[in-house]
């Protein structure tokens, strides 16, 4: 039996993770009366047509404010949520068309590192139990050896000092390292890290960021790094996508995007990051208010109602090809990039 089953294509040399037109729409709960009289169900469009390709050894940054859909996108990529439209390809194989055994392989190879090391660890489990659990779920061999190796990779050395500890005996940095060890123990090829350092003290953040960056390099993984803070994204990511109301509105090499953002939303997001420089006093925010309800999206460009540069043409929806650099690496879904650049 096992022989006839097709395993995933490990020789595939395209992007490790590729999504096209990805959608995740949540039905709004409406009252029973509303449903009885045949009212239409409205949808929250958390992810609304995202194209993204992440290569092995690459960390893609995903930035946007709360509620922009970035965490939902991360959850859909690793199969924690079912998409409602579009396609996800892992190693070139469509998720929908995977056999049961390929699905299992997929699940073992995509992992998540969560934001809060205080809540994501089970307080009753020892470090060993916590890291062993995924190995049990996937029925892996050589478990002890794998646990030791994962702890070493997460720089919890020597492993025997940590293996019997419980979460309350560990510092915040150590807990996040345990979460990382748990995510790594299955030797995944793709990880999603959702604000992995925002709950940690400043003095340990850099060590966790450096660790993640080295792991992506050494293990040749693909990674999606989710944050609302471009200063953290800058430390971690080769390329960055900016998300607003379920759509990617700008994408480019991270340094290029930070030095010269093109979409007005990316400009505002960058401007809002406080800078550790006293000559830089807090300036008037470029954006007022909060994103509109993703149920009733505005006509044309989603950002139009909040955009200080909106014009007549913005009633037509721009795609990511509305602005592109010559090499095509840096793109923004905005009609007015050149006008705004010249202002």
């Amino acid at each position: 039996m096992a022989i006839t089953e097709q395993s995933l294509n490990w020789d595939y040399d395209g992007p490790i993770m590729e999504v096209t037109g990805l959608e995740k729409h949540f039905p709004q709960s409406t009252g029973i009366i509303h449903q009885l009289i045949g009212g239409e169900t409205s949808h929250v469009k958390a992810v609304d047509g995202v194209d993204m390709a992440i290569e092995s050894g690459e960390t893609m940054g995903l930035v946007g404010e709360s509620g922009c859909g970035k965490s939902t996108l991360g959850e859909v990529l690793i199969g924690l949520q079912e998409p409602t439209g579009g396609s996800i390809k892992f190693l070139g194989t469509e998720l929908d068309s995977m056999s049961d055994s390929q699905r299992k392989e997929f699940r073992r190879n995509v992992q998540m590192i969560f934001q809060d090391p205080y809540e994501s660890l089970n307080p009753r489990f020892s470090v060993e139990q916590w890291i062993r659990e995924p190995l049990e779920v996937h029925d892996m061999d050589n478990q002890d050896e794998r646990i030791y190796e994962a702890l070493e990779r997460a720089e919890l050395t020597p492993p025997e000092n940590y293996i019997g500890e419980h979460p309350h005996e560990l510092s915040g940095g150590e807990r996040q390292r345990v979460s990382i060890a748990r995510a790594l123990v299955l030797e995944p090829k793709f990880i999603v890290a959702d604000e992995p350092v925002s709950m940690l003290d400043v003095s340990v953040r850099a060590s966790i960021l450096n660790l993640l960056r080295d792991l992506v390099d050494d293990l040749d993984m693909g990674a999606l790094y989710i944050s609302h803070d471009l200063s953290l994204i800058r430390q971690m990511c080769d390329r960055t996508s900016v998300m607003y109301l379920g759509k990617v509105v700008e994408r480019g090499p991270t340094e290029q995007l930070i030095k010269g953002p093109k979409h007005p939303y990316a400009r505002a997001l960058l401007d809002a990051v406080p800078v550790p420089n006293p000559d830089h006093n807090i300036s008037e925010p470029q954006l007022e208010g909060e994103p509109p309800d993703p149920v009733e999206l505005p006509e044309g460009c989603n950002f139009r109602p909040r955009c200080p540069f909106a014009a007549e043409e913005c009633f037509e929806e721009p795609g990511l090809d509305a602005f592109q650099t010559a090499d095509g690496e840096h793109a923004a879904a905005c009609w007015r990039v050149e006008t705004v650049d010249n202002m």
Partner: protein, 336 residues
């Protein structure tokens, strides 16, 4: 005019064992000034803020030193006397306050209560004031009719700010006012707080772990570690001319979107156990420059007027400054 003076303040939490969370902190705050208190979790910054506000948890006691507010010693006031000052003359915006609005009362009733608790004002007048305050913090006045759950996190935090301003206090203590919010909302709220301060002329203490927030919003700052003050002075001086290895460590650990990208350093090790008495500098065990004398005493140095550094200077400060930017310097210490 000095509005607030904290002298050699000690705060202890009773327990088994007792924890001395603040260990001899001194600073002054001038009228109209904003002072930042920065440090990492467990450094005592929130305890310090609560002690000034007279809002320590039940097992917390001021065990030494004094707090002088507007010329009056308020260190040991009774609860009733404190209540008169609280909200009237000093108020607090805290990180958790956003979730402390009562879910069953409309916003207007909660603001009205804050006013009428202290002042004999009619319902109609306080309702009017509630609407005015909403406008002041950039919210639609009609939203006073809302219940807290109808507001977003950022809006709830604005309501808290509105309440803290209700009685026009001289001092506002903001404890991580924007920590749970994303950068866009954070910028809106910090900008609004600063605008209001300019208009109303009150003083402020900003407690935060985020040195970039201090850089953008404060005039002076205090860096705390292990319950003690490590370095203090005006913000320009501390950012451009920091002397203390811990301050430099924090600055080098902090990412920025400005300038050229650089590698960040981290500070291995963990903060001291505050249930134990401590000789010498609390940072010594994590400090790559520590010398034997650091385990015994902590001298105060004053490189320029108003800039205080509690450090032995085991190697010259210029060297500390250069070497603290390199990760190897810190990694020569034990790992986290």
């Amino acid at each position: 005019m000095t509005l607030l003076e904290v002298n050699d303040l000690h705060v202890t939490y009773a327990g088994d064992p007792d924890v001395e969370a603040v260990r001899g902190v001194s600073f002054t705050l001038e009228e109209g000034e904003t002072l930042g208190i920065v440090g990492e979790s467990g450094c005592g910054k929130t305890t310090l803020a609560q002690a000034i506000m007279g809002a320590l948890p039940d097992n917390g006691r001021i065990t030494g030193g004094e707090i002088i507010f507007d010329g009056q010693d308020i260190t040991h006031l009774s609860n009733r006397e404190r209540r008169e000052i609280r909200w009237e003359r000093m108020s607090m915006i805290s990180q958790s306050a956003m979730n402390s609005l009562d879910p069953v009362y409309r916003v207007k009733d909660q603001i009205k209560e804050a006013i009428q608790e202290h002042r004999d004002v009619s319902d109609a007048k306080s309702y009017e004031r509630a609407r005015e305050l909403m406008e002041l913090v950039g919210l639609d006045p009609d939203r006073v009719e809302d219940y807290p759950h109808q507001l977003s996190g950022g809006m709830r935090q604005r309501v808290i700010i509105a309440m803290s301003l209700a009685l026009d206090p001289d001092l506002i203590i903001a404890d991580e006012p924007t920590t749970a919010l994303d950068v866009i909302i954070q910028e809106q709220i910090l900008y609004r707080i600063k605008e209001l301060q300019r208009e109303l002329g009150n003083s402020m203490v900003m407690v935060t772990h985020d040195i970039s927030v201090v850089a953008e919003t404060c005039d002076s700052m205090v860096v705390m570690y292990g319950g003690e003050l490590m370095e203090s002075g005006n913000v320009d001086e501390i950012f451009n001319n920091a002397h203390h290895p811990y301050t430099l460590g924090l600055q080098n650990a902090f990412p920025s979107v400005e300038g050229e990208k650089r590698d960040l350093t981290s500070i291995p090790g963990s903060p001291p156990d505050l249930s134990e008495p401590l000789e010498g500098c609390p940072f010594a065990s994590r400090c790559p420059f520590a010398a034997p004398e650091c385990e015994e005493t902590v001298p105060v140095q004053e490189p320029v007027d108003g800039h205080r550094v509690r450090c032995h200077e085991p190697v010259p400060f210029e060297q500390i400054r250069d070497r603290s930017g390199e990760d190897e310097t810190w990694l020569s210490q034990n790992k986290v």
